[in-house]
Amino acid sequence: MLIGSPNCGKTLLFNRLTGLRHKVANFPGITVELASGPMSGLSGTTLVDYPGSYSLQPLSRDESVAVDEFKRGLRDPEVSHVICVVDVTRMEKSLYLTLQVIRLARRSGKRVIVAANMIDVLDAHGIELDFEGLSRELDAPVIPISARTGIGIERLLAQLREAPPADGSAVDSVGDIEISADLLVQQAAHGLARRYGPRSDVLVRSQHRLDAFFLHTWFGGLAFFAIMYLLFQSIFTGAAPAMGAVESGIAALADWVVPHLPAGVAADFTSDALFSGVGAFLVFVPQIFVLTLVVGLLEDSGYMARAALICHRPLRVFGLTGKSFIPMLSGVACAIPGVYAARAIDSPRKRRLTYMAIPLMPCSARLPVYALLIAAFIPATTAMSGLVGLQGLAMFLVYFLGLMLGLIVAGLAARRDRDPAPDVPFVLEMPPYRMPALVPLLRQSLHRCRHFVAKAGGVILGVTVVVWVLGYFPNGGADLQSSWLAAIGRTIEPIFTPLGLDWRYGVAILTSFLAREVFVGTLGTIFGIEFAEENMVPLVERIHASGLEAASGFALLAFFSMALMCVSTLVILARESGSWKLPLKMFFAYGAAGYLGAIAIYQLLSLDIF
């Protein structure tokens, strides 16, 4: 069993010991669920990672669940050892939990090993600590390690191999103290930290210099906006070369493969459904990679906690807390980790409001739709050597719109909230700044892309096949307008006419209720059939050729900004909020708001004054 205080590097150690790649980031509250995996250095041994906790005295429902699970684990006869991770740079906050864990584990007959993590940080500053003395005081082995660099991991494994499980009769070295927020335990932790913790304030001084800038009343706010702007600008500018390469690669592959196939159904299916449909979606994967990488860089650097602090006051206006910022920004990559990250919000009321805001964040599933429509209607003009691009600016505005929508919805819901319970105040540990570890971040971004392609790709392929069959038959792709798909599409067309959309876009919207990104694949397939005589052409050009008005394009942007079209998010919301009431309300309310908002935008932009 692996336990430790929040942001002590516990999950990084878990990943190192198991070879797994669970999400790590440089702010407290990342691990919200139990995770387990076989230890790579000890065959037949499973390691269980518990969410970080300041003590075994739970304050919230989630903390209670984690602590109860830990206590249940201690009663499990299969469990032999507890690895308690201590952040040696900030020893005091870890030692209180450590003392509680040692006492409880001994009573249960489990051996405790203290992993004194982040020794590399002390080494970098030339700070040496007396781990042997600490080990004597705790009556437990203390192994200095660095989960980040791997220092001491072999020693930790050797200790696990050698040390037999405790017999449950060990003498309690911390006195006869019950597991409680007892002053004596705190004093013991305090005393140990004073004696064995780093005395120098060099670790805090470098952090303070950066905080003085990033949390400055004026510069801090400007830096925040600059960082957010660069994040969204990079989605276009950073990913553009890779997107071009993927697009060219798919076109070249299609040009090579299709002529080798027998003319007819097989060649048409490969060209229209596979290359035009699925290919149109794959073009946007580099943008998802860049988005995940940049969000990961922010998370790993320690900046997220500062952003939470800067946002706290403005978010309070909307009934939220600064801690809502982290799940909301995580929701920009994907709503699901965002919903999980909301567990770090102590206040149940603010957590519920954050749940309502997260699905309005422009997630990576919306990204292909936004990127397609922006590329179709906003010119690719750039200035300042490409640093400022009109399309990137449009993307920033779309994301800002999503954020504002989330805030407005949360604000309106907060005003209607009649919960009499007092609110939980804001306290947030400010993690030290760290240079982001690029290789794990690149790996994490690749993993995210693979997951995205695997998850959405299956749905897109399935929908593409169905759409292609319906669009190709009964006339063998000769005329899309007389296909089965057109017949179905025309029955739903009246719903989309007020948005200036014809049945082709109606069908694409309908299929996107399975997953938003299916919209792109469906359009690719439909236009692939319609323009079958042409070679592979970027989807943007086909949208132009379809006669879609700019007003309809912006109406589509508005619809996709608001509608909650993700089954997985609804399921996770139901699980986290404890019922289907909230997600179902959100599904219908956001859908209706998206539809009515899109009509309003289309009608407004269609006025003669524009």
Binding site: Y54, S55, Q57, L59, T89, R90, M91, E92, K93, Y96, L97, A181, L183, Q186, H190, A193, G197, P198, D201, L203, V204, Q207, H208, D211, A212, L215, H216, T217, W218, G220, A305, L309, I310, H312, R313, G322, P422, D423, V424, P425, F426, V427, L428, E429, M430
Partner: protein, 92 residues
């Protein structure tokens, strides 16, 4: 206001709320006022804000943002709802 102070903790130094501690000023925590629920004072104690501990105000960002405090080698940000209920005495 009710105070949770240590036994024998009578202190002649002027006490203020942590929220009002000046930038770069250091103080000693002498208690939590009665308006703070026990579970919050317990959690703060677990985090290092326990009675007798030195605390330094590192930053006071404007516009009512949470302020940044250092206890031991750990840095926390606390908003007014919390910091206004932590009583401190100026550290000599």
């Amino acid at each position: 206001m009710d105070m949770q102070v240590p036994a024998g903790g009578a202190d002649v130094k002027p006490e203020i709320a942590l929220w009002h501690l000046g930038k770069n000023c250091r103080a000693v925590i002498i208690g939590f006022d009665g308006a703070m629920p026990l579970e919050y004072s317990s959690r703060l104690s677990e985090m290092g804000f326990h009675i007798g501990e030195s605390v330094t105000c590192l930053l006071r960002p404007g516009f009512g943002c949470p302020r940044v405090y250092r206890v031991s080698n750990t840095v926390y940000s606390l908003d007014e709802d919390l910091a206004a209920h932590i009583r401190v005495a100026a550290d000599a």
